[in-house]
C-alpha cells in the first residue's frame, strides 16, 4: 500500500494556495493538513503538526521561504515553489532539490509526487557546482543555502566532512571528501592533503616545510593546513 503524506502549503497569496491545494487534493496519497500565509504562522504550523511535505513559496512579503528554513527545524521534505527566479532555480537544480514553478502544471506535480518515496537530493553528488552556486546544507538543526565561494576549506573526519566558512562557521556533513573534490570547481578548490581541500581564494601564504611538504595559511585562520608532498606537486602543476 502506498504511504500517505501529510502536506502543508505556505504562500502569501490566497489564490495561489487555493490552486495548489486543489491540485494536491486530486492525489490519493497526499493529504493537505494546513496552510500558512507567512513565515511566522508557517513556523508555528510546522512545529505543531510536523508535516511530511512542505510546499514553500520563496518570494513572500517580509520574510522569504529561505528565512523559514533557517528559523525552523524541519523534518519533512521541502518542495520549493517559485514564479520566476533564475538564481533560486539554479540552486535547486545544482542541489537536486524538489521545486515547482508557478503556474504549477499538473504533469510536473504528478512527476514530483511519484518520486516522493525516493530520498530528496539523491542525485545530489552527481552534479557539478560552479563557484557562484549555492549549496543546500541541512544539519540537525536547520536547512539553508550557503555560497560556494564562502567555503574556505573542507576537512575530513572519517566519513564526515567539515565545511569551514569564511565566517569561521563549521558545518558537518555526512559525505566523504573525495565526493567534494569531484563536485567543486577545480579552478578554485584544490586537494592539498588526504584529509583537506582548500579554496585558493583564501590562501594567504604558503610556507615550505619538511620533506617537500608545505604549510598553507588561510586568511582569518591562524592554524596552518599541511600540504603533503604528493599534493604539493599537483598543486604546483595546476596553479603555476
Amino acid at each position: 500500500m502506498q504511504s500517505e503524506y501529510r502536506a502543508i502549503v505556505v504562500d502569501d497569496e490566497r489564490l495561489a494556495r487555493q490552486r495548489l491545494i486543489k491540485m494536491l487534493n486530486r492525489f490519493d496519497n497526499i493529504k493537505v493538513i494546513g496552510e500558512a500565509s507567512d513565515v511566522t504562522s508557517a513556523k508555528i504550523l510546522i512545529e505543531k503538526s510536523k508535516p511530511d511535505i512542505i510546499f514553500l513559496d520563496i518570494q513572500m512579503p517580509r520574510q522569504s521561504g529561505f528565512d523559514l528554513l533557517e528559523k525552523t527545524r524541519i523534518d519533512g521534505r521541502v518542495v520549493f515553489v517559485t514564479a520566476y527566479d533564475n538564481y533560486a532555480i539554479r540552486a535547486f537544480e545544482a542541489n537536486a532539490l524538489d521545486y515547482l514553478m508557478k503556474p504549477v502544471c499538473a504533469e510536473r506535480l504528478e512527476r514530483m509526487i511519484s518520486k516522493l518515496d525516493k530520498e530528496a537530493g539523491d542525485d545530489f553528488f552527481l552534479s557539478k557546482l560552479s563557484y557562484q552556486d549555492k549549496l543546500f546544507v541541512s544539519d540537525n538543526r536547520q536547512m539553508r543555502f550557503i555560497d560556494i565561494k564562502d567555503i574556505t576549506h573542507i576537512q575530513s573526519t572519517g566519513n564526515y566532512s567539515k565545511l569551514v566558512l569564511n565566517t569561521n562557521e563549521k558545518i558537518l556533513i555526512y559525505r566523504p571528501l573525495k565526493e567534494w573534490e569531484k563536485r567543486l570547481p577545480g579552478t578554485k578548490f584544490c586537494r592539498i592533503h588526504r584529509t583537506a581541500i582548500v579554496n585558493i581564494d583564501y590562501i594567504e601564504k604558503i610556507e615550505k616545510w619538511f620533506n617537500y611538504s608545505c604549510r598553507i595559511y588561510l586568511s582569518g585562520n591562524s592554524n596552518p593546513l599541511l600540504m603533503s608532498k604528493s599534493y604539493a606537486g599537483i598543486f604546483r602543476e595546476r596553479f603555476s
Partner: protein, 379 residues
C-alpha cells in the same frame, strides 16, 4: 545625383571636401587681395596679362600645390596624443621649408615660363630674400595653425558624437533589459492567479486576462526614444495595479489623483511605472496591511514651471545597496533616463517620513508646447 539644399551643406561640411574648398578659396582670396593692393603700382612696369598670371602663379598655384603637399606631411602626424610643443615644432619646420620652396619655385617658374634671365635669380638682394621668406613662413605658419585647429575641432566633434551615440545605445539597451527583468516574475504570478480564478470566479479571471493584455501590449509598443502622454502611462499603471490588487487582495489599496491639466503632458515612457513597481515590492515588505499607494500628479506654479509625478506608499524606504541585495536598478534607471532626457531640468526626490515614503519626479512644463504644435502625438 541631384543634391538638395541640406545634403549640399552636409557635403560641404564633410571633412574631406572642406579641406579643398577652404584651401582653394583661401589662396584665391589672398591673391585677389594682393592684386587689389599692388596691381596699381605694378601696372606701370609691365604687361597686363603677364602680371595677372604672375600674381596667380606665385600667390595661388604655387602655395596651393605646396600646402597640399604639407597636408600629406601633417596627416602623418598623429593627432591622437599630440602636445602643443610637438605641433608647434612641426608647423614651424614645415612652414620654413615650404616658404623656401615657395620662394625659389616662384622665381624658377617665372624664368622658365616667361623667359627671364637666370641672372635675375641672383640679382635679388640678400636682405630682401630673407625678408620675403620670413613673410612667407609667417603665412605658412598661419596656414598650419588653421589646419590643426580645424582638424582638432573635427576630432573633438567626432568624439563627442560617438560618446553621445554610445550613451544612447546603452540607455536603449538597458531599457530593453529592464523590460525583460520586470516582467517574468510578475507575469508568471499573474498567470498563476488567473489559473486559480478560473475555477473560483470566472468573471474575475476574465478581468485579469484583459488587464494583463493591456499591460503587455503597452510594454511591447513603447520605445525609449518616443515620449508618451501621462494619461497613457497612468492607464498602463492602472492595468498593473488592478492585476496586483487581485493577487494581493485586501493587502493592497491604491488611489490615483491625476490633475486634469497634466493628463496631456508628455513624459518618457515607463518612467513612473518602475517607481510604482518599486513601491509595491518594498512597501509590501515594510508596510502594515493594507499597503496604501497614492499615485499623483500636479502642475507646480513656480519660478520655473514644472509638473510633479509622484508615488507615495505607506511602507519604509529600503536602500537596496545597503542590504547587499543588488543595486536599485529600477530607480537608478529612472534617474539616468531623466538625466539623458532633460539634463538638469528634471528632478528626482525621495521623501522619507515616518509612516510613508514619497518618490517624486519633477519635469519641465515646456513639453506641453511641443504637444500643441504637433497635435496628437508626443514626438
Amino acid at each position: 545625383m541631384r543634391l538638395t539644399h541640406d545634403t549640399f551643406y552636409e557635403k560641404v561640411l564633410e571633412k574631406k571636401n572642406l579641406f579643398w574648398i577652404l584651401n582653394i578659396s583661401g589662396w584665391l582670396i589672398l591673391t585677389l587681395l594682393w592684386i587689389a593692393l599692388y596691381f596699381p603700382d605694378d601696372f606701370k612696369k609691365g604687361e597686363y596679362g603677364f602680371l595677372i598670371f604672375k600674381y596667380f602663379n606665385s600667390n595661388f598655384i604655387i602655395p596651393f600645390i605646396i600646402t597640399t603637399g604639407v597636408r600629406y606631411l601633417f596627416k602623418r602626424v598623429s593627432r591622437k596624443n599630440y602636445t602643443l610643443l610637438k605641433i608647434s615644432g612641426v608647423i614651424i619646420i614645415s612652414s620654413l621649408i615650404a616658404s623656401f620652396l615657395w620662394f625659389y619655385i616662384d622665381i624658377l617658374s617665372t624664368i622658365i615660363i616667361f623667359g627671364d634671365n637666370l641672372y635675375s635669380l641672383f640679382s635679388i638682394p640678400v636682405m630682401k630674400t630673407v625678408q620675403k621668406i620670413i613673410n612667407m613662413s609667417v603665412l605658412m605658419s598661419l596656414w598650419g595653425v588653421l589646419y590643426f585647429i580645424i582638424n582638432i575641432f573635427f576630432d573633438w566633434q567626432e568624439e563627442k558624437r560617438s560618446k553621445e551615440r554610445a550613451l544612447l545605445l546603452a540607455t536603449e539597451a538597458r531599457l530593453e533589459v529592464l523590460k525583460n527583468q520586470i516582467n517574468p516574475h510578475f507575469l508568471f504570478n499573474s498567470l498563476n492567479t488567473i489559473s486559480a480564478l478560473i475555477e473560483e470566479n470566472q468573471t474575475k479571471a476574465q478581468i485579469v486576462i484583459d488587464e494583463l493584455s493591456g499591460f503587455l501590449r503597452y510594454t511591447l509598443t513603447i520605445k525609449s526614444s518616443q515620449k508618451i502622454k501621462l494619461r497613457d502611462e497612468i492607464n498602463f499603471i492602472k492595468h498593473y495595479i488592478k492585476i496586483q490588487s487581485v493577487r494581493f487582495e485586501e493587502k493592497l489599496e491604491c488611489i490615483f489623483d491625476i490633475a486634469k491639466d497634466t493628463e496631456e503632458l508628455c513624459i518618457p515612457p515607463a518612467i513612473l511605472y518602475p517607481i510604482v513597481e518599486n513601491a509595491i515590492k518594498h512597501g509590501i515588505n515594510t508596510s502594515d496591511f493594507p499597503l496604501k499607494l497614492y499615485v499623483y500628479s500636479f502642475i507646480k506654479k513656480d519660478v520655473d514651471d514644472s509638473f510633479i509625478l509622484g508615488v507615495k506608499n505607506s511602507g519604509l524606504w529600503i536602500n537596496t545597496s545597503d542590504t547587499g541585495k543588488g543595486t536599485n536598478t529600477g530607480i537608478n534607471n529612472v534617474k539616468e533616463r531623466l538625466f539623458c532626457e532633460y539634463h538638469g531640468d528634471a528632478g528626482f526626490n525621495i521623501i522619507i517620513k515616518p509612516g510613508f515614503v514619497d518618490v517624486q519626479i519633477s519635469l519641465p512644463l515646456q513639453e506641453k508646447n511641443a504637444v500643441r504644435v504637433q497635435g496628437n502625438s508626443c514626438g
